[in-house]
Amino acid sequence: MIAAIGLVLGIVAGLFLEPTVPTWLQPYLPIAVVAALDAVFGGLRALLDGIFDDRVFVVSFIANVLVAALIVYLGDQLGVGTQLSTGVVVVLGIRIFSNAAAIRRQLFRA
C-alpha cells in the first residue's frame, strides 16, 4: 500500500516539479527506469508468492539500476552504446514480461 502511494507521489512530484534531466544522466535514465520497472515487477511477483522481502527488493532495485547504468556506460565507452542499450532493454523487457506472466498466472490461474 505504502509503496503504491509512494509511486503515485513520485509521479505527481515529477508532474509538478517539471525537472530537466541533467546531461550526464540522460543516457542512463531510460535504462535505469526500465531496470527499476523490472525490479518492481519482480517484487510484485514475490509478493504474490508470499516471499516478498523488502530488503531483497531494495537491494535488487538498486543493483538493477546500477548494473543497467554500468552496462550503458561501458557500452558508450566501447562505442557500442546504442546496441548495448538495445540489448539491455530487450533482456529487461523479456524479464518484465515473464514476471507479468507469473503474476497473471498467480492471480487468474491463466
Binding site: A3, I11, G14, V59, F61, V67, L107
Partner: protein, 271 residues
C-alpha cells in the same frame, strides 16, 4: 542483473493458491505501514518520478540527449532532405521565372492592345481627343456655302494631317467627323439671303460653322490659306473663314462604334 524472484516452491493446490495470492495482494494493499516498507516505497516514488521525468524529456526531446551515431544519422537525413528541398526549390524557381516571363509578355501585349485601341478610338471617334490644333469658323450670312465647300475644307484639313475633326454650328450641335461622315445639302434647299444649312451625318447644322481640328496648327492653317484654297473660295462666296490656332483643342463629341454585321476579322490576319 540480480534475480530477486526465486521460482515459487512446489505449487499448492490451485484454489488455495489463487485465494492466497489475492489475500496477499489485499493484505499488501491494506493501509498499515510497517517500517520495512518505507524504503521500497521510497524507491517506488523514485521510479515514478524518474518515469515522468524521462517521458517529459522524451516528449520535448532535443538533440542533446542523443548519441553520436544517432546525431550522425540525423545529420545525414537532414542533409539529404535539404538537398531534395533545394532541388525542388530550384525547379519551382524555374517555373516561376517561366510563368512571370509569360505574364510579362502577356502584360506587354495587353498594354500594346490598349494603346492601339486608344489610337483607333480617336480615329473612329469613339474617344474624346485633346491636343494642339486650330479652330476654323466659317460664317456665311449669304447662304452661299454648301456641303461641297465644307467637304473640300475637310479634305484639305485631312491632307494637312488632321487627326481628329469635329464640326458644329456655333453654339449648336456638334458632329464628330470620321471616315464615313457625309455632307448633304438639306432637301428643301436653302433660301437666298438666309444662313446656309447642311446635314452632316443626319444632324442639321446651320451657319456659322466651326471646325475643331487637332493636328499641327501651322500646317493646318497654311493648308487653308494657300492661294485658291479654302479661305479664298470662302471669300469668293462672300463668306468668311477665320482660323484660330490653339495649343489645346478639345474634341468632346463622340460617335458610337459601328459593329459590323457581316465583316469579321480574318483569322490569319497579320498582327
Amino acid at each position: 542483473m540480480s534475480d530477486d524472484t526465486p521460482a515459487p516452491a512446489a505449487p499448492p493446490p490451485a484454489k488455495t493458491a489463487q485465494r492466497t495470492s489475492w489475500q496477499q495482494l489485499r493484505s499488501a494493499l491494506r493501509p498499515g505501514a510497517s517500517k520495512g516498507h518505507l524504503l521500497p516505497a521510497l524507491l517506488c516514488a523514485l521510479l515514478g518520478f524518474a518515469v515522468v521525468v524521462q517521458v517529459r524529456s522524451t516528449q520535448d526531446a532535443g538533440l542533446d540527449g542523443l548519441r553520436q551515431t544517432d546525431l550522425v544519422r540525423i545529420l545525414d537525413d537532414v542533409t539529404e532532405r535539404s538537398d531534395r528541398l533545394s532541388t525542388e526549390a530550384r525547379d519551382l524557381e524555374d517555373t516561376r521565372a517561366r510563368v512571370t516571363g509569360g505574364t510579362d509578355g502577356t502584360r506587354a501585349a495587353l498594354e500594346e492592345a490598349r494603346e492601339r485601341s486608344r489610337v483607333l478610338g480617336i480615329l473612329a471617334g469613339t474617344l474624346p481627343a485633346v491636343g494642339p490644333g486650330i479652330e476654323l469658323t466659317i460664317s456665311d450670312p449669304e447662304g452661299n456655302v454648301g456641303s461641297d465647300v465644307l467637304l473640300d475644307t475637310l479634305q484639305e484639313l485631312r491632307d494637312a494631317g488632321a487627326e481628329a475633326v469635329e464640326i458644329s454650328s456655333l453654339d449648336g450641335p456638334a458632329v464628330r467627323v470620321v471616315a464615313s461622315t457625309s455632307f448633304v445639302d438639306p432637301a428643301e434647299g436653302v433660301e437666298e439671303g438666309q444662313p446656309s444649312r447642311v446635314v452632316v451625318d443626319g444632324t442639321e447644322l446651320t451657319s456659322p460653322y466651326r471646325f475643331r481640328v487637332i493636328g499641327d496648327s501651322r500646317t493646318l492653317a497654311a493648308a487653308l490659306d494657300i492661294p485658291g484654297g479654302v479661305l479664298d473660295v470662302l471669300a469668293q462666296s462672300e463668306a468668311q473663314g477665320v482660323v484660330d490656332p490653339s495649343d489645346e483643342v478639345t474634341i468632346a463629341s463622340l460617335r458610337a462604334a459601328p459593329s459590323p454585321r457581316y465583316a469579321r476579322p480574318a483569322t490569319d490576319a497579320p498582327d
